[in-house]
Amino acid sequence: MRRFTAALFLLGLGVMIAAIYQHMDFSNTAVNAGQAINVVAAQETGAANFVTSVVLAYRGIDTLLELTILFTAAMIGGMVLGRRRIDAPRDPDAGFILRTGADLLFPLLLVVGLYIILHGHLTPGGGFQGGVILASAFFLPLLARPGITLIDQRIVSLVEGLAGATFILIGLLAMFDGKEFLTPLFDKGELGALISAGSLPVLYLAVGIKVGAELAGLLAHLAEAEALD
């Protein structure tokens, strides 16, 4: 009975959505903040990748908040799951393939992750994508050999704190310069060069390291959660 009413409810919702879709107007392209950004972004930020310009410059505060959400989620995750008991049973080591694969992939993932972070202002990718790859680099060994301590939690918390603080401090630096918070700084350089776009690559590096540290920490907390009896 309950499923029937739920199905009926969903059907009604579907019809409503269809009605809304029928009334949607796809013709307007007159006003568009995004297209306006496309026109001025190269000049204003010096980054060849305009999505990066939006993420770090035009909507930089959103990105800062997003990092804060990850920071908070990782902190709460740690608080909720707690530390495992010393005598809690652990999963056995994984098989030969996963162990060897993890060893081989570890440096590779680090390099790829850093490459993607550092080229975030030039090519698709950036701090988030690269940060996730970095996190997986540190998580893979944990899957292969449960129980190894690859990274000290203290170092993780130091890195995440400092990376987040770097982002804010770069923003504050602009304020000391008499500009608004998070105004892009430094020389914009040549469009498309690796060292260009002023402070954006530095911000993206902070984002990448922060995302990597938070996600690795969250995954480690989840992996460390004691198996249920």
Partner: protein, 488 residues
């Protein structure tokens, strides 16, 4: 250069660095949070006088108006920014088990609450709102009991559902207008959003942001969370955070969504909230959940007030909000030691006479007994409703009055128990001095407002007038009136 940014950024920075500070000195980590909040509150107060002439707008990163993100400070926004900063300071978590994390979370709550109140960009509001939600998960779960985990998870499910709907609403708005800036949306709304799509977007965002504002269908989390979280956290969530969510809905309503149907939706949901909340509070058998349900009822009154068109509605809603802002945290602080069954409260007035007297005062104001501010707040809601001369508004006014008698019934039940002469077998616990002092401080604010009623009402009226004037908003954010389509 605008110092208001620091009100948002400094708490975040401190929260990031708190665990590092803690390594250097535990004492420094302990005092850093309150000190930073004192500093940000001082910044807020220093900016306050400028705002009565004209609001301030600034751009994060200094980009042109529709491209970047706008921060918009008017008296309305700054009032609630200060409320969350000072509220967090007063209700600073005292959790010996997880002090460091709780301090970080409290700082983040103050920073994001401020940002939410001052944000002038739709998606930025969403991100601030999400961050505030995640922070409140942490504060609730910080108690560490299995009940707090379960209630947080159930809260997370409802909240996640709402947030995704709000995101879909934002997508619909961006599809229709191509901008997220509230000032530009206010200009484009009559043309682009006064249709079915705009209404759908409004409903989606109302449900999404309504989760925290204890809106009727998405408030199942309220009794569970307030019963399992610590009293200070409940006081913060019910007292301040719910108002911030309401502030977002008010801003959207004033600036972007002008459909008459939107007001009807608010009125109906508000009435349902009042009815369901007050009836559940009447049935509740422990103080925490009684207060939780009654807070659903009061938020319902605020939604009803919002449904009154024009300046009067915003003024009335603002009055009820400010009243509730003082009252609810104080009540939750009193409930800290009176948590259990109401039956067990018999004779508690003997152990803590001050707390009991304060509870009586708060109850009277909540019900709306004449000289107290609660009466004037409710009057401000009911009078314009009757003046509208529409059946549904008449019904709404009737519901508010009926709810007041229900409130009187269940609150006096508690008061009767407090002053019960019967001997008790279990001795009552006296209130912690800090809790009682904070509660008395807030209660004193209520009494003080009785003597300053006229200037206070004038001030609130001017705040409401400033908030409802769309042209002020547009002029402040974009002085060179934006032509639709052309971006300089």
């Amino acid at each position: 250069m605008n110092l208001l940014v620091l009100m948002i950024v400094l708490p975040l920075l401190t929260a990031f660095l708190l665990s590092i500070i803690n390594r250097a000195s535990t004492f420094a980590a302990r005092v850093a949070g309150p000190l930073v909040l004192l500093a940000t509150a001082a910044i807020g107060f220093s900016v306050w006088p400028q705002l009565s002439d004209a609001p301030i707008a600034m751009q994060w990163g200094g980009f042109q108006v529709p491209l970047g993100i706008t921060l918009y400070a008017d008296q309305f926004g700054l009032l609630f920014a200060l409320a969350i900063t000072i509220g967090t300071l007063l209700l600073w978590p005292r959790n010996s088990k997880n002090q460091l994390r709780s301090s970080s979370l409290a700082l983040l709550l103050a920073g994001t609450g401020t940002g939410l109140a001052l944000s002038g960009d739709l998606f930025n509001i969403y991100v601030f709102y999400e961050l505030m939600t995640v922070v409140s998960y942490g504060l609730i779960a910080g108690r560490g009991t299995s009940g707090s985990f379960a209630s947080t998870l159930r809260y997370l499910v409802i909240s996640g559902f709402g947030a995704a709907l709000a995101l879909a609403g934002i997508a619909l708005v961006y599809q229709a207008t191509g901008t997220l800036n509230l000032a530009q949306l206010a200009q484009l709304a009559p043309e682009k959003l006064n249709n079915l799509q705009g209404f759908a977007a409004f409903v989606l965002m109302l449900v999404g942001f309504g989760v925290k504002a204890e809106l009727f269908p998405v408030n199942m989390w309220v009794p569970e969370v307030y019963a399992t979280a610590s009293s200070r956290v409940s006081a913060l969530l019910a007292g301040v955070v719910s108002k911030l969510a309401l502030l977002i809905i008010m801003r959207l309503l004033i600036l972007v969504f002008h459909q008459p149907e939107a007001l009807t939706v608010l009125l109906v949901l508000g009435i349902l909230g009042v009815v369901s909340g007050e009836l559940a509070a009447w049935r509740a058998r422990d103080l925490n959940r009684m207060l939780a349900f009654s807070s659903i009822g009061q938020l319902g009154v605020m939604f009803i007030a919002l449904s009154i068109p024009g300046n009067a509605g915003v003024f009335a809603a603002l009055a009820v909000m400010v009243h509730h802002l003082f009252l609810k945290p104080s009540m939750f602080l009193l409930a800290e030691r009176w948590g259990g069954s109401i039956e067990k409260l018999a004779g508690a007035a003997k152990t803590s006479p001050v707390a009991a007297a304060l509870f009586v005062l708060l109850s009277l104001s909540l019900i709306g007994v004449p000289p107290l501010p609660g009466f004037w707040a409710k009057l401000l809601v009911i009078m314009p409703m009757l003046a509208l001369d529409q059946p549904l508004y008449y019904f709404g006014a009737f519901v508010i009055l009926a709810a007041a008698s229900l409130e009187a019934n269940y609150l006096f039940r508690v008061v009767m128990k407090l002053y019960d002469k019967q001997p008790v077998d279990v001795p009552h616990k006296a209130h912690a001095t800090v809790d009682l002092a904070t509660a008395v401080f807030l209660g004193a604010g209520l009494i003080a407002s009785v003597f300053m009623l006229v200037p206070l009402a004038d001030r609130l009226d001017s705040i409401a007038a400033q908030a409802t004037d769309v042209s002020i908003y547009i002029q402040t954010v974009a002085p060179q009136s934006l032509q639709s389509g052309s971006v300089q």
